[in-house]
Amino acid sequence: MDQQRLVERAREGDHDAFAELARATVVRLDEAARLILRDPELARDAVQEALLRAWRDLRKLRDPARFEAWLHRLTVNACLDQARRRRRWRIEVELLETDTPSIPDMSAAQADREVVDQVLRRLDEAGRAIVVLHYFLGMPLTDVAATLGIPIGTVKSRLHRALGEMRIAIDPERTLVTSPVSRGQPA
């Protein structure tokens, strides 16, 4: 059964249909949440919250074809809520650099992974959400702006700043990303 039909049935109260939809999307949602929050436990809470809201408010969704985008939006908002709560309670700890030399035989892919990971950690949750929505979930920048409720210009500037940090962090000889809008989709 296609996703649209499942959404329609779930909207009519069919929980089995919703379960099927949730199982099909939970991995992607969990990964996105972990990228945004950089914390598996918080990501789990955010996804749980998003799915609960999705079930409760499913009848609010008018266009079944927009189910995934809507679910992504719920997830990102739940992530930002979690981040806000965490910010209220967390204690900032500055990790000092050690003199340990980097691993010399690190492969290029592994090095890229480390750099992206470090840069993502330096961004705030909103910045990470932009990167994840656009590059990980493949959402056009207009939809990113709508999902986060911020102007498209703000999305672009933040993405540019995030990618600029990645570019600076990475070896100039192996520049990973040089353009703020790199997916080639209309911004």
Binding site: G13, H15, F18, A19, A22, R23, V26, V27, D30, E31, A32, R34, L35, P40, R44, V47, Q48, L51, L52, W55, R56, D57, L58, R59, K60, R62, N77, L80, A83, R84, A109, D112, R113, V116, D117, L120, E125, A126, A129, V131, V132, Y135, F136, A145, A146, L148, G149, I150, P151, M166, T175, L176, V177, T178, S179, S182, R183, G184
Partner: protein, 361 residues
């Protein structure tokens, strides 16, 4: 593939690699919870009824409205207002209203060591404080809601109690037994009384043979003796609020009517306005004196310059000072002797006013 697309693909791949994790097993718990919960009915969504557009809201970055800080500030302000109101209300003397039902209330009296009240209209009596102790001298507060009375421990020592007019809520005012000092005629109501605001009880006491004034809190939480610097007898609250006490003092200035402020314990006759002091006095002092009073100069001299009052049997009890003259009490024979060269007139059964013949009285 352009360079940009290639780099985007690299970033996507890196993100997928970063995001890789175990399967989210918690989906079963989530679905169990959703299965137990109900979906919101369609009619509860505003979009159902109102034309709505995508309203942009800065959920992630906009500063949150400081509800908590505002709530705490409001609570603090409310507490401060309550404290100020309580402070102001507490500072206001509670004075019984000068009006009310114009009828007679109960009469309190003692009988056989117990305290009774009686309705003068019906004659119905009711014992309100009973027991093996010897209770005496009940005295109502001005608002008629409470009664203060004396519990005699022996011939000398007593303790004061306060109770509601029905005998309940008995409160011991003087944990330490004390010696109450009656006035000249030994009337119980001169030994103690509740202040007009009902917050304190005034007691005429005797300490080491000296007449003293003792104040007790009506809630039973404190007793203190006023230091007026002289022997003080027959104290009485001065209307309207009991901030001052009138008493007969025996000090360096001789006997006289004095006023003392309870708060400051500054006690002295007011020479600037002696008449003000005196107004409280005629009934208190002169009206019941068994001896006649003569008016003499403040220096104790008669207006004709002679000794005011030769020592006699009771001549050591001059009374309230009146500037520039004060009144003294002298034996009848002295007055009769003075009448030969003074013009004396009786203004009261116990009061003679004398002046030099041909001079002002």
């Amino acid at each position: 593939m352009t360079m940009q697309h290639r780099r985007s693909a690299e970033l996507e791949a890196t993100l997928v690699d970063l995001a890789r994790g175990p399967y989210p097993e918690y989906i079963d718990d989530v679905l169990a919870r959703t299965a137990r919960s109900r979906q919101r009915p369609t009619w509860t969504f505003p979009e159902r009824w109102l034309p709505m557009f995508g309203i942009a809201s800065e959920q992630a970055l906009a500063p949150r409205f400081p509800w908590r800080a505002i709530a705490i500030a409001l609570i603090v302000i409310a507490l401060m207002v309550v404290a100020v109101v309580a402070l102001i209300a507490g500072a206001q003397p509670r004075i019984p209203a000068p009006f009310g039902v114009a009828d007679n209330g109960l009469i309190a009296f003692e009988r056989g060591g117990d305290i009774y009240t009686a309705d003068p209209a019906t004659g119905v009596e009711r014992a309100i404080v009973t027991g093996s102790q010897t209770d005496a001298g009940p005295r109502f507060s001005l608002d008629g809601t409470r009664i203060v009375f004396e519990r005699k421990l022996d011939y000398v020592h007593s303790q004061l109690y306060l109770a509601r007019s029905d005998g309940t809520d008995l409160t011991l005012l003087t944990p330490e037994p004390l010696t109450l000092a009656a006035g000249d005629l030994g009337r119980a109501w001169e030994k103690y009384q509740l202040s007009p605001d009902g917050r304190t009880v005034l007691m005429a006491t005797e300490t080491s043979g000296v007449h003293t004034i003792t104040i007790a809190q009506a809630d039973g939480k404190g007793v203190r003796r006023l230091d007026v610097g002289m022997s003080a007898s027959e104290p009485s609250f001065r209307p309207p609020n009991g901030a001052e006490i009138l008493f007969i003092g025996d000090g360096e200035q001789g006997l006289g009517l004095f006023a003392v402020n309870i708060a400051t314990e500054k006690g002295q006759a007011d020479p600037a306005d002696p008449e003000r002091i005196w107004r409280g006095g005629p009934q208190l002092v002169a009206g019941r004196l068994p001896h006649r009073l003569l008016e003499v100069g403040r220096d104790g001299q008669r207006p004709d310059g002679q000794d005011a009052c030769p020592l006699g049997r009771r001549d050591r009890r001059p009374r309230a000072p009146i500037a520039p003259r004060r009144r003294v009490e002298c034996p009848r024979d002295v007055v009769q002797r003075w009448q030969s060269d003074l013009h004396c007139s009786r203004v009261h059964p116990g009061l003679w006013r004398c002046a030099r013949r041909g001079g002002a009285g």
